[in-house]
């Protein structure tokens, strides 16, 4: 289906909250080490949550998803709101290997992948190319996303904490299906500069059921 993958509901007035991980910090070993998961979640993501709360203080409560479309109009929303959304989305799409290996794309998704890229392997290859260090010139994310018409999948790279939901970031608004954090903090403790290894290992931990 063409549903939004995830939206975090605020817990209290103007309070976006840091969602708990759906698994333990060490659950994604050996793809990602426990220290990285802990710092990534408890420090990096938490900072984005704190900052988006500061930036939206006194304003009407909206789900984080709804802030995305116009995020480019306000730098704090772009950076911290984007950061919160992206990471919340990311934790949900990952699963321990035992679980992930038994998941696969739905028939609809698989059909769209084949239609948009030729084959699953071609989609993976294109994704890995976009995730290579020279493709996004610094910090950013790589996305597999669907257009709003729901008939085509695209792979895009976005800088810093931008995402394809934000008007003006990509040629058109796209709805993320899958996203990969390629900021160095996402992989440095375990992989240092070996980003391609981080990327190729990631496929084994994607929860396609989501």
């Amino acid at each position: 289906g063409r549903e939004y993958a995830f939206a975090a509901a605020p817990a209290a007035a103007n309070a976006y909250s840091l969602p708990d991980l759906p698994y333990a910090f060490e659950a994604l070993e050996p793809y990602i080490d426990a220290p990285t998961m802990k710092i990534h979640h408890d420090k990096h993501h938490a900072t984005y949550v704190g900052n988006i709360n500061k930036a939206t203080e006194g304003k009407d409560e909206v789900p984080i998803l709804d802030l995305m479309a116009d995020a480019l109009e306000a730098t704090p929303v772009r950076n911290s709101g984007g950061g919160h959304y992206n990471h919340a989305f990311f934790w949900e799409e990952l699963a321990p290997h035992d679980k992930a290996k038994n998941t696969k794309p739905s028939a609809d998704l698989e059909a769209m992948i084949n239609k948009s890229f030729g084959s699953f392997d071609e989609m993976k290859a294109k994704f890995e190319t976009q995730a290579a260090p020279g493709a996004v010139f610094g910090s950013g994310w790589v996305w597999l996303a669907v257009n709003t018409a729901g008939d085509e999948l695209k792979i895009v790279g976005t800088p810093n904490q931008d995402n394809p939901l934000m008007k003006g970031v990509c040629d058109e608004i796209l709805l993320p299906i899958l996203g990969l954090d390629v900021w160095e903090h996402a992989y440095y403790l375990k992989y240092q500069n070996r980003r391609p290894e981080y990327v190729s290992n990631w496929w084994s931990f994607v929860n396609w059921d989501k």
């Binding site: 020279g134 010139f137 904490q161 160095e184 440095y188 500069n193």
Partner: protein
């Protein structure tokens, strides 16, 4: 000129071309290389050696970080710069304007990465060394005081700006040739300071996560605060003097 004169000049140029760092005036090594090489872009770049051991700036930055930062990250920029320049040479020779323009991003990223890191290694030195003290009565201290009142104010400003960089980038102390004053600036990703702003780079602080993650994890403010102890002020001053000429 005589053939023996040309031979002497050629060998001098070859020697000059192999020194690829800002210790040699930029113009000489680039022009020399271009004259020697048939490639329009001037030939291959190499990873410069550090003038100190990998553990030299501990405890501010660990030997582990310095090793990976120099031998992997900087080295990759050099390799990819050379690859981009080869493509550029081919495009220039073919007169393919579109291909030339298409290389813009790769050149800025990898060329900037090489330039920035070369400058960075040279503005670092061991803690407690004489180069790590900003000398009284020198051109640099006066320039900082003229622009910021005192050195601590400048450090606070550059620290805050560097910490605030979103994602990857650099903090710079630079010289503005139009105003004759020094100023602080930041650049995203590997955008080189002079080419993209006109400011002459005096002091660079790498705030890409790879520069500090092993030692400081996400706490960039601690890294930026600590790096002031290992800044090679002598180098920074030499750059300012050269820029003012």
């Amino acid at each position: 000129m005589s053939s023996s004169g040309k031979l002497i000049i050629d060998s001098a140029l070859r020697a000059a071309a192999h020194v690829r760092s800002s210790r040699l005036p930029k113009d000489v090594s680039k022009v020399a290389a271009a004259m020697l090489s048939s490639a329009p872009s001037g030939g291959a770049h190499t990873l410069p050696d550090l003038s100190y051991d990998y553990n030299a700036i501990e405890p501010v930055v660990s030997a582990e970080t310095m090793t990976i930062h120099h031998t992997k990250h900087h080295n990759t920029y050099v390799t990819n710069l050379n690859a981009s320049l080869e493509k550029l040479d081919a495009a220039v020779s073919a007169g393919d304007v579109s291909a030339i323009i298409g290389l813009e991003g790769a050149l800025k990223f990898n060329g900037g990465g090489h330039l920035n890191h070369t400058l960075f290694w040279e503005n670092l030195c061991p803690k407690g060394s004489s180069e790590s003290e900003l000398k009284d009565g020198g051109v640099l201290k006066s320039a900082i005081e003229e622009a910021y009142g005192d050195v601590d104010t400048m450090k606070k400003e550059l620290s805050a700006m560097s910490v605030a960089v979103q994602g990857s980038g650099w903090g710079w102390l630079g010289y503005n040739t139009k105003t004759g004053k020094i100023e602080c600036a930041t650049r995203p990703n590997q955008d080189p300071l002079e080419a993209t702003t006109g400011l002459v780079p005096l002091l660079g602080i790498d705030v890409w996560e790879h520069a500090y993650y092993v030692d400081y994890r996400n706490v960039r403010p601690d890294y930026v605060g600590a790096i002031w102890d290992v800044i090679n002020w002598d180098t920074v001053e030499k750059r300012l003097i050269a820029a003012k000429k």
